[in-house]
Assembly symmetry: C2
Homo-oligomer: 568 residues x 2
């Protein structure tokens, strides 16, 4: 099947593989709903018009035919599932392409981690595009399992699914012209470069945009988003499990600005993916906010396709990929059938079975901890300590100060004051390094949570009401080769093994969700009232998102981009 | 000067080369007018904001600062001037980038012709981007001076100013999957491919779009333009000297469709360029039709920049090229100063002097005619002949039939019936081949016009009231090594030498214009009331624009894409 066969179908000389009759096509080029038939051949749209004949003909009785949705930025690892299982979750809801940044597994396993994600998504019905992970490690303030330099990233350019450079989170490095960061930007200057510049404004924003990044998905206010859009950044509205910004940013969406905006989920956990969906949930929210449905759909089709130079998709047009779905209503957008590359891939909310990817095996677990050197003890001193404040549904944190609770010469967690201990145990090199601090807003009365999902270094992160529970939870996680765990005293209450990089499970996503629900419930039973305490915990170690974070090397003041002492 | 210096200026650590204070920036990203200062460094915009310091500071007192305009499609050869002289005409009016197709000179001289245009535009202040000429020759129904195959065009891909494949005019070849055309499309499938599909609609349009072209600039009605836009073609509104379509197409421009639309001049002769301008005249016309000025400016800035993947320009934003102009009013758009790459390049309507391009010499003239074999005689027969009807300000023609005027056994021109003889003399190979036909709508009472500007084969084309004048005019053109000429009897009334390919003069554009005005006036004095009879004549040989055209090989029915006999 080559393009000359397609053209023969388009001009009507050869029958289409199938023709969908009586569709209302969402035409994202013209902004119209077009009542017409559509002919398909092989993996392409052959043509629109009412006089095509096909080997098969399907009358859809006026249903809307919508271009397949594109998630403009997602870390598949946050689904805790393999790419194929992630696909099974998002395909039935109309997502046919994702632009992914595999920087979670890259921080654990380096280039072999990225190649695992490419292999594990090869040939599956979801188009998994990859941006080359730019910040491995995110900074030198945390210990990751690997480091990727410009020359490593250059090797990825020739892969047909690698589009550009992934979010350049080291924004101070970008703004101050750090040579290592500049070399990575130079390696991708002719490609899309994703940005990440939370709260950056004024001259630093000019510097960030001048350096090369072309998108930003970290805006938390309309004002911030509008300034970035004015400076030429393509703005991605985000609704991640733990960072819901869409509602705050929607006011900047107008018919004039909309072409410079797309939608992304960034990080979504299995319950969100299975209950709310992927990017479809954001399109639905935009429509329900009163935006014209065709305009809303553009945000997740033509806009990201154009920006990421995916000129073979993003619309239902001749010669483009036959990626589309059918719905009865453009208001509730309940997806009935989904086609990808001309094949029916999901129906009635469920993905059809597809052959396994051409995956290699995942890399061996990275879990090297010398427990004899691990201690969570914090000797007492005089004065105030810095305290991380977790903010519900945000990945930014607050930074506070208070006089800690002291017992027997050590600083202890004090659940009555909502002060918990947080520790990050280095797990890649066996250094025995542990960063210890304190956090409020998580809300455990007793026990501890531990996990190897800790953006982006993915060391072993632990939060607890006392050290014994913390150690028990942490050691169980290590024994599982990575995962999530809740313990009280020496007793493990619930656990979810994530042996692929300490980030992903090989199980079906529904099974992962069941086990995740159990660990989350166990954490809630211990007193946390966060939507997902594990998701919240996983961002408390991310030293590129303000304000106060913790890594295996210590507390980080993100705005100053430097370590600070626990004691003020 | 590298990008790290730029970033230092952007973040305010190093002074800008110059700062423009008190500007109202046309922000094509947000659609706003932004009152701010703008800092510039080297060839770039460093930043927007009111607290930059510069080596020089220029207060523009609230003038509008507009991104440099981009002509989305132009054949520079139609200016009859070299690229540098073309630049002197368009720069002072705000055009800083043109996307050119050198297919006129390519049809005469092949790859050396394209390399001449690249060399002659290297380093001049106008950015001359090049699309690789796809249709050399346009078809096999005319004799060109060269043929470019897919492998020839592939060689051009590595040139930094070659963006993609130029207008694929052989639309029947595209639609029917002609292997030679398909090979050219395949060679540029990852790049923008300009289309050219006049009047193509329905299934053939689906086939055309499926084959790969991503633009069209041949629409003559709003309905045609809207259908093409719906099928995913990026539509270029054109106002060429002899093809003014903007007014007819403007009705499809809405805030929803506008991102899929840009503006182009295609072919403009010196009087138009010097009196009306380049793409600026179209922006002005769009504004005067009532469109929001920022939206109108987007059509000639951000839109073509995005489509042609010129991500370093098309807006005033940090890190983009400092290509911009200053105006006091967004209604009349009278350009006061123009900057390109950070340098003042025009002021008060005149280009500042700039060093000559790094040009090689133009190729030797292609002018090989065996006059002993040239005859314009048409033996009489019974019945009707086909007659080309020239249509004012259009490059499409009508096709009519009538009983011709016959004298002494030959068909003769009959100015009283507005029937003139038209001939195309092959000039590249010395074949002696002459195509002879008849035309109405040109309106000479006596004498003849001849020229070597005859799209796209650029053979020697002649129109006259009798054979002696035709021969005198044609021979004078050949003696000049190409050009335009008006003769009556044996007397040459006016002439313009165009020795570069028979298409361009090395003279200043003002001088070319003076001589062109004289040949046009001489043609008008002979009775033609066309705006520019030479421009009209130059398209009567273009066998890819409907309906009836003539080449050295004979009359062409363009809709049938085949030769037809003079006699019906």
């Amino acid at each position: 099947m080559d393009r000359s066969d397609l053209i023969a179908v388009s001009r009507g000389e050869r029958p289409a593989d199938f023709v969908i009759r009586n569709a209302r096509v969402v035409n994202v080029f013209s902004g119209e709903l077009e009542e017409t038939d559509v002919a398909f051949f092989d993996r392409w749209v052959a043509g629109l018009g009412t006089d095509y004949e096909g080997e098969r003909e399907i009358d859809v009785g006026g249903r809307y035919l919508v271009p397949g949705l594109i998630d403009a930025h997602v870390h598949i690892e946050s689904s805790l599932a393999t790419p194929a299982e992630f696909a099974r979750a998002v395909l039935p809801r109309g997502t046919t392409t994702v632009i992914s940044d595999p920087h979670e597994i890259a921080n654990v396993h380096g280039l072999p981690g990225i190649h695992y994600m490419l292999g594990a998504s090869e040939g599956i019905p979801l188009s998994v595009m990859v941006m080359a992970s730019s910040c491995v490690p995110a900074t030198d303030m945390a210990t990751a399992g690997a480091a990727l330099h410009a020359e490593d990233l250059r090797q990825l350019r020739s892969h047909p699914r690698v589009l550009g450079l992934a979010e350049v989170m080291n924004f101070p490095g970008v703004i101050h012209g750090d040579p290592e960061v500049a070399a990575k930007l130079d390696a991708f200057r002719d490609r899309p470069i994703d940005g990440h510049a939370p709260g950056v404004s004024g001259k630093p924003l000019n510097a960030y945009a001048a350096a090369g990044p072309s998108t930003d998905h970290e805006c938390t206010s309309a004002q911030e988003a509008l300034e970035k859009l004015r400076r030429g950044l393509f703005v991605l509205f985000r609704d991640a499990t733990n960072a819901r910004n869409l509602g705050d940013l929607l006011p900047i969406l107008t018919p004039i600005t909309s072409r410079r905006i797309a939608l992304c989920t960034d990080d979504r956990q299995p319950p969100d993916l299975l209950d709310q969906g992927g990017i479809d949930s954001m399109v639905r929210a935009v429509i329900q906010a009163g935006v014209d449905p065709v305009e809303a759909i553009r945000l997740a089709t033509l806009n990201p396709a154009e920006h990421f130079r995916l000129h073979d998709r993003g619309a239902v047009g001749p010669g483009r990929r036959a990626d589309f779905f059918l719905v009865g209503s453009l208001i509730d957008l309940e997806v009935e059938q989904v086609y990808a590359g001309g094949k029916l891939v999901a129906q009635g909310g469920a993905a059809l079975p597809f052959p396994a990817a051409a995956a290699g095996s995942p890399p061996e677990p990275s879990m090297d901890i010398d427990w004899s050197r691990v201690s969570f003890r914090v000797p007492a001193k005089e004065g105030e300590i810095r305290l991380i404040r977790a903010i519900p549904d945000q990945i930014v944190t607050g930074s506070e100060r208070l006089i800690p609770t002291i017992r027997d010469g050590t600083v202890i967690a004090d659940p009555d004051r909502d002060i918990l201990k947080i520790a990050v145990v280095e797990r890649h090199l066996g250094s025995g390094r542990v960063g210890v601090g304190f956090v409020t807003g998580v809300g455990l009365d007793s026990g501890a949570l531990a996990g190897t999902v800790a953006h982006d270094h993915h060391n072993l992160i632990v939060i607890g009401a006392e050290d014994a529970s913390m150690l028990a939870a942490a050691r169980r996680v290590a024994e599982m080769g990575g995962g999530l765990c809740v313990a009280r005293g020496e007793r493990v209450l619930a656990s979810l093994p994530l042996p692929i990089g300490g980030l992903m499970s090989p199980e079906p996503i529904e099974e992962i969700r069941r086990r995740l629900d159990r660990v989350v419930q166990a954490a809630r039973d211990l007193g946390s009232d966060l939507h997902d305490p594990f998701m919240a915990m996983s961002f408390l170690g991310l030293e590129v998102i303000p304000k106060l974070k913790i890594t295996d090397r210590g507390l980080v003041d993100v705005e100053a981009f430097q370590f600070v002492d626990l004691w003020t």
